[in-house]
């Protein structure tokens, strides 16, 4: 989508330095004129709610913490969350690394198709992916039933429940991170290092073990961190497939729903701390890296020549392509299924356009779509403005608050969405100007705010990476030629930031329009987004309607991507 894999990890996790130091006191005052509102907003929207949660967990001393420690359910939730996260990391590695090597290093029939669909799982909104898996591999899913019939079994061959099911779904959706990072690492890999090793007598495995893999470690570690954070904060898969299983993110919602707010605060704090601990752990593991990737690349893919190997590769590629495309196809298929008709058959027995007709004609069904789109637009617009200013400050200005700003921008990335949402729920639940609280819970604005916070790291790092490619002396040159600050912004800085702004805005809009995890904590009936309507329809066993919403969501994502691309092409 025009964003480098690095922008998936926020700037604070990487090294950065300002491109230019502002010299005069005048410039310094000017810097603060922009920096103050940005920092104040982020402190208020990001830090304050989370601090409120931590404070809330101590509202009666250590009482809630003791309650947490004494609760077998909570201890189980913490353990399960960690187990799932670690297992997801390894499952994603097991798929992503070989796939990246296969597509990056070898040429075989079917490679292009496989490459084209390899990132497809990332295009599924989280909840949609989960329900697609339900339709396919659930107890009454198509694949499950087909297998059961073929083998003449009494019961389903498996149950899509528990840790295994969650890790299965995570592996499918999150291997994409590993794949993208490792592919990029392989592309940058200096091919002469491999040649040097082979010239010195090293065989294939030795080169892999001693040269290729160690040099790919930064990319691998980065993607592992990303998967870990995503898996830890994952809500949809445990919520739908968990069964009786407890994980921290679902436990938080349960406690909140039961009115045990103090306990929910403790759980939220523990979840956020686990994420931060994970972040620190990975940075520590990656600490030894002192070398930079050389970034020349230029290795040609090895053509597989043996007929038998070609055939094997093509069959394998075809199978992987089918597995990757199947969830999307399944959602489309089910979207045409008549609600309530699909009971024990392998495939839905009746097909109709009714689901779509109702979606567009019934006001109540149309509402979530309007909600999602308008909330995504508001959140994305805010992201674009705030993140642009923040990235501009970080790249071009040197001031005392720069490190703080970087940290603020990265923070939402390290805090699971459930925790962010609970923080907002705990903070903006009443009007109290003295404590800077305003009532947002129950209003339209709470969800856009949540989306804005969640997407801030993504947009900021996309813009930042664009600005870093700009020659910093251009700003000086423009100012030196007598351009005002606004003219320089409009004619020099914004055009330079544009690719990052477009890519970042697209990512933010796509994420926001399908957002589920924060929404499920904060929504009300009036502002329910598409994802929650999908869940509600699923609960009512209206699979067809749920699927048609999902298709609509996919189409929306597709349209936004195309719009962003044509916008970029027209300007570029």
């Amino acid at each position: 989508m025009g964003v480098s894999e690095e922008s998936l990890v926020p700037a604070a996790a990487r090294a950065s330095a300002p491109r230019q130091s502002s010299r005069s006191r005048d410039a310094q005052r000017h810097t603060w004129l922009i920096a103050f509102p940005v920092i104040a907003l982020l402190l208020w929207a990001v830090v304050y709610p989370n601090a409120a949660v931590v404070a809330g967990s101590f509202e009666n001393g250590l009482g809630h913490w003791r309650e947490f420690a004494a609760s077998p359910a909570d201890r189980e939730a913490l353990r399960t969350s960690l187990v799932i996260s670690v297992a997801s990391v390894f499952a994603a590695l097991a798929i992503g690394v070989p796939l990246a090597f296969l597509l990056g290093r070898f040429e075989f029939p079917g490679r292009r198709v496989l490459r084209a669909v390899a990132t497809l799982p990332a295009a599924l909104p989280p909840l949609v992916g989960v329900i697609a898996f339900l339709f396919l591999y659930g107890e009454s899913g198509v694949v499950t039933r087909a297998l059961q019939r073929t083998l003449g079994m009494e019961e389903a061959p498996w149950r899509l429940k528990g840790v295994g099911a969650i890790v299965f779904v995570h592996a499918y959706t999150m291997y994409v991170y590993v794949f993208l990072f490792v592919s990029a690492g392989l592309e940058r890999f200096d091919a002469t290092l491999d040649e040097a090793a082979s010239g010195l007598g090293a065989g294939m495995w030795q080169r892999l073990r001693r040269v290729t893999l160690p040099l790919l470690m930064p990319a691998v570690a980065g993607s592992m961190l990303l998967v870990f954070m995503n898996a830890l904060g994952s809500f949809s898969a445990p919520y739908v497939f968990g069964g009786g299983l407890r994980v921290l993110s679902t436990q938080i919602l349960a406690s909140k729903t039961n009115g045990a707010l103090g306990l929910a605060y403790v759980e939220t704090t523990v979840l956020a701390l686990s994420a931060v601990a994970g972040l620190i752990l990975f940075r520590w593991l990656d600490r030894k890296r002192k070398f930079a990737s050389t970034g020349k690349g230029g290795r040609t893919r090895r053509v597989i020549r043996s007929r038998r190997a070609q055939l094997a590769m093509s069959v394998l590629a075809a199978m992987v392509v089918i597995i990757l495309v199947l969830p999307h196809l399944m959602v489309v298929l089910v979207s045409f299924a008549r609600d309530g008709a699909w009971t024990t058959q392998v495939l839905p027995p009746e097909y109709t356009l009714e689901n779509y007709r109702r979606l567009f004609s019934e006001r109540e069904l149309w509402k979530p779509i309007i909600n999602s789109v308008s909330m995504a637009v508001v959140a994305t617009a805010a992201n674009v403005v705030v993140c642009f200013l923040a990235a501009y400050l970080i790249v071009f200005r040197k001031f005392t608050g720069r490190r703080l700003l970087e940290l603020l921008l990265a923070l939402p990335w390290a805090i699971p969405a459930t925790a962010i949402a609970l923080g907002l729920a705990a903070t903006f639940n009443r009007n109290d100007p003295a404590t800077l609280r305003i009532l947002l819970v129950g209003t339209f604005w709470i969800l856009p705010l949540a989306y804005f916070i969640r997407d801030t790291p993504l947009v900021a790092s996309a813009v930042e990476s664009s600005l870093r490619q700009m020659d910093p002396s251009l700003e000086d040159a423009a100012r030196g030629l007598g351009g005002s600050w606004f003219l320089t912004m409009r004619r020099v800085i914004i055009p330079a930031a544009r690719p990052g702004l477009v890519a970042g805005a697209l990512l933010a809009a796509v994420t926001a329009v399908g957002e589920f995890v924060a929404s499920v904590v904060l929504y009300t009936h009036a502002n329910r987004p598409i994802s929650l309507e999908i869940l509600a329809q699923l609960r009512a066993l209206a699979f067809g309607t749920a699927a048609s919403y999902s298709v609509l969501l996919i189409v929306l994502v597709l349209l936004m991507t195309l719009a962003a691309r044509s916008f970029e092409e027209r300007l570029a």
């Binding site: 200096d190 002469t192 290092l193 040649e195 040097a196 090793a197 082979s198 010239g199 010195l200 007598g201 090293a202 065989g203 030795q206 001693r210 040269v211 160690p214 040099l215 890296r289 002192k290 070398f291 930079a292 050389t294 020349k296």
Partner: protein, 361 residues
């Protein structure tokens, strides 16, 4: 110049031979029927502009490319299909290709590690190899902390520690700054001779080739133009292409008179002694002569003999001065002179030295 140790000093005949090598990429022929031979202890430079096919030739010698035609032999054995890992060659890459995640000594020891040598032994030998290139005690350093010259020495140590059967170097000096380059030339020549195996190195810089190589193979557009000693290429170029690439000089038309040739510039005819191209007995119809700056002299207008000309450019070069002299509308020559007294715009006479001058077809 040092004695050229082209005579075998290694074990038996370990010569590296490229025999009729051709390599095509699609329609493009990168290397076109090139044959060269490097004896044990001999240094051969593959010289050419970019796109001349010199690097592809080196990569074929190393085994990273397979030729479409021709063969690679070492000590009489055909190794054309042998993968790089099995050739036992030491290679120094243009950007050195040092493993950034390993300290210096592990880099140097890597070839021994690949051969299953135990850790203590291989690190010991790595340190010896580092000492041999003047990097005692640098074993534990990180690659990133090395200067360009140090990296080059590490790359050399890494290639030599495996006791290679041949050494291949891709632009070994191109990443060094000019001063370092001068000293490295001598060091490199001495070190390569010490190893005593065939050494093949690629360079676009003829000065590097002159300074280091025993013999030079000059390539252009994939074809071998000439191979021979630096002296051969400079004084006895095989063609005008070679003469214009190697050294400075102006190529002017001449009338072939056997051991002499007559050059006419602006109506002024001068006959000079020439060396005929190898094998050219018969008179050459359209002959040319190379006028090198060091084979010409410049004198005041009082001089009777010679072509009269105007100084269009004067460049101070230490003990000598380089004058660019316009002798006619179509002929401008460079003259290297100890005579410092002329200024731009002065008239002067250019006279040929003793020669002999290279005669070309």
């Amino acid at each position: 110049m040092m004695g050229a140790p082209a005579a075998a000093r290694g074990s038996g005949d370990g010569a590296l031979v490229l025999d009729g090598i051709t390599r095509r990429f699609g329609d493009y022929t990168a290397v076109d029927a090139v044959s060269v031979e490097v004896g044990p202890g001999e240094l051969l430079a593959l010289v050419g502009a970019s796109g001349s096919g010199k690097t592809t030739t080196l990569r074929i010698a190393a085994g990273y490319e397979t030729p479409d035609a021709g063969s690679v032999q070492l000590g009489g054995t055909d190794i054309t299909q042998l993968p790089p890992a099995k050739r036992g060659f030491g290679m120094v890459f243009q950007h050195y290709a040092l493993f950034p995640h390993m300290p210096v000594e592990e880099n140097v020891a890597f070839g021994l590690e690949a051969r299953g040598v135990n850790k203590a032994t291989r690190l010991g030998r790595a340190r010896e190899a580092l000492a041999a290139v003047g990097l005692e005690g640098a074993g534990a350093r990180a690659i990133q902390s090395l200067s360009g010259g140090e990296q080059q020495r590490v790359a050399l140590a890494r290639a030599m520690v495996i006791e290679p059967r041949a050494l291949l170097l891709d632009e070994p000096l191109s990443n060094l700054d000019p001063t370092l380059r001068q000293t490295m030339r001598d060091d490199l020549r001495a070190m390569l001779h010490r190893v005593g195996v065939p050494a093949l190195f690629v360079t676009h810089d003829q000065e590097d080739a002159f300074a280091i190589a025993d013999r030079i193979a000059l390539l252009k557009k994939g074809k071998l133009l000439q191979s021979g000693t630096p002296d051969d290429l400079y004084h006895r170029p095989a063609s005008r292409e070679v003469a214009s690439f190697i050294g400075r000089g102006t190529i002017v038309p001449a009338v072939d008179r056997g051991d002499e040739a007559t050059i006419s510039i602006a109506g002024n005819e001068i006959t000079i002694p020439v060396t005929r191209p190898a094998g050219a007995r018969a008179p050459i119809n359209q002959a040319y002569v190379v006028l090198r700056p060091d084979a010409l002299q410049v004198g005041g207008n009082a001089e009777q003999r010679g072509w009269s000309g105007v100084v269009v450019n004067r460049r101070f070069a230490g003990g000598v001065v380089m004058y660019r002299m316009r002798l006619s509308d179509s002929v401008t020559v460079e003259v290297e002179s100890r005579h410092h007294g002329l200024s731009e715009g002065d008239n002067a006479r250019v006279t040929p030295g003793k020669g002999p001058f290279p005669l070309l077809a």
